[in-house]
């Protein structure tokens, strides 16, 4: 009996240990004939069909590893990024990686199709000349609300503070997004390093926190679909997703302005298959390919020439449209360097109610 219990206890500990990731990109082509493209990206970020087609067309094999957040990506690339050929850092992470000299300069002569990218996304603040990155998925963080419960159309971030929504507000579980929202509400930059401006933003958020049902990024869609929440901050792409399952949801970009964000393609320094990597990036901006790809992903297509290949439902999606109309006005979240520690401190204060 005692043995059984010891065994069971050991199993518990192992099971409770949680989740680790596999970490074994193939170093070189398996048989010298077939090249391998080591892709390091977010989970479920491509149409599997599109990847398959690329493998067939270029006689290669795609080795798709996933990361769950930018910090994990950064840590792995710093530990030896040349194992990967294509990576997908978000906007501010491109800036960080550029400063840390971790990215290869892209050869735009081999990336003809990237000219198809919407002009407004060609010169983002984190990489103004597009030397190291091209925009892949993008969106705007706005207000999502349920028309059943929110009767007056929200127009301003201030509407989140409406006492009628007490206990029904959800904010993204992300310090930069939430503090950025409160900064924006007061007319400041989302990248402010000014202590007084941040103090003001935090004070406002403290007043909001009794109204907050939860902070959530990963399952925020479910909370809105199940109508646990009535109003909150959400990415346009996620809002489009949630809207498909609950038609009462609507999305608006507040008048004070909002954050625009993007996940990009980049090539880490010393990538072993840079040629193939560029072919891959180029392939994905072929209008037909990107139409097929973004229909699957459900996020805004950055490809200006893809519209005619998309379904009507995709082109008329109100959430994606709202983001697209706003595209040139959004403010990018930038790497704020030293000030990140200050943001984290305010964030911790907010969570502890201090």
């Amino acid at each position: 009996m005692k043995k059984l219990i010891t065994l069971l206890l050991c199993t518990f500990v192992l099971l409770l240990g949680g989740c680790g990731g596999s970490d074994k990109p193939q170093k070189t082509a398996a048989d010298g004939q077939e090249q391998v493209l080591n892709l390091f990206s977010w989970a479920d970020n491509f149409s599997p069909k599109v990847l398959e087609d690329f493998e067939k067309k270029y006689h290669c094999k795609i080795n798709y590893d996933v990361f769950a957040n930018n910090e994990e990506l950064l840590a792995k690339i710093q530990a030896g990024g040349s194992r990967y050929d294509v990576i997908q850092p978000s906007d501010y992470m491109v800036a960080t990686m550029t400063k840390l000299n971790l990215l290869e300069e892209l050869d735009h002569s081999a990336l003809d199709n990237t000219k198809n990218i919407l002009p407004a996304l060609q010169h983002p603040a984190y990489d103004p000349q597009g030397r190291y990155s091209v925009v892949y998925t993008w969106g705007v963080t706005g207000i999502v609300y349920n028309k059943k419960y929110v009767k007056t159309l929200p127009a301003s971030w201030n509407d989140l503070w409406n006492p009628a929504y007490k206990g029904r507000v959800i904010l993204l579980n992300d310090s930069r997004e939430v503090l950025g929202m409160a900064l924006k509400k007061n007319g400041y930059s989302v990248n402010s390093k000014d202590k007084a401006e941040l103090e003001k933003a935090v004070q406002d958020l403290r007043k909001l926190s009794p109204s907050v049902l939860a902070y959530d990024t990963d399952t925020i869609k479910q909370k809105f679909i199940a109508e646990e929440a009535w109003i909150g901050t959400m990415w346009s792409g996620d809002a489009s997703f949630a809207h498909k399952d609950n038609k009462d949801l609507a999305f608006v970009i507040p008048k004070e302005g909002a954050v625009i964000w993007a996940d990009t393609f980049a090539i880490p320094k010393g990538a072993r298959h840079k040629d193939l990597a560029q072919k891959f990036i180029n392939y994905l901006y072929d209008p037909k390919v990107s139409a097929a790809n973004y229909e699957y992903i459900g996020y805004n297509d950055p490809n200006a020439k893809a519209e005619s290949y998309h379904s009507e439902a995709f082109n008329n999606d109100p959430m994606l449209k709202a983001a697209k109309d706003y595209i040139s006005k959004g403010e990018w979240i930038e790497d704020i360097g030293e000030a990140l520690t200050m943001y984290d401190r305010y964030w911790t204060e907010l969570k502890t109610g201090k």
Partner: protein
Amino acid sequence: MNKNGKFLIAPTLLWLTVFFVVPMLIVVAVSFASRTPYGQVVFNWTLHNYGRFLEPLYLSIFGQTLVVAFVTTVVTVLMGYPLAYYIAQLPKRWQQPGLILCMIPFWINFLIRSYAWVIILRAQGVLNTLLIKAGLIGQPLQLLYNEGAVMLGMVYALLPFMILPIYVSIEQLDHRLLEAASDLGAKPLTAFRKITLPLTMPGVAAGTILVFISSLGMFVVPDVMGGAKSALVGNLIQNQFLSARDWPFGSALSIMLAVLSLVLIILYYRTLQIQKGGADNAKDVA
């Protein structure tokens, strides 16, 4: 120890060195380092991170975490002891199935079980729907995203860690002692208080340590069931690595958590030993 013995434990020692000692030393080293503006670690041997730990903001998070861990432990003892006792009293052939029933939930990943709780407890969830249909409530109750939900999740996750060690100690109890007590005129409750409880304390102690330590580091439950509204040490540490990009501070916090756990365990065992010494003396006198 003979040569064969050394040979036999070599793999274990190697395992512990590679996967425990070395990583631990790395964490210690990083905790004395600094962060560059872009989040890189530079080794300049500073106590800065430990200084930050002493700020009231972070101390209060440690305090809050201790309170949650303490309450979780007390609740699991109160719930786990009767259950373990009940299983130990069952006929032999029902004991094993009883234990296995306690463990079956562990066949499913903990994260999934946490989300299952969300589905049960949320506003339009299973429980609220049932209560509304039964006419017991008019409006859905807010069962999730509060401290109660966090506590429920913690107790749910850790209860088996309490049941198993207590069960073992109850099962090992010498029943002749209870018979003797009964022969000498002790009522069942007195016998339980004077014999069963003191003799099963090692099981309670083991369970307490397992539950207390595990709950100190919990970060999934506050995130999923608590709506990420409160910050426990586990969440604070997670944030340092995943958003603040401040590995040195995260490492220092981890070390402080480990040290704190160790000190508490030592104190706890000391207290138990003194009590046990007292109990033994009492037995001698009797």
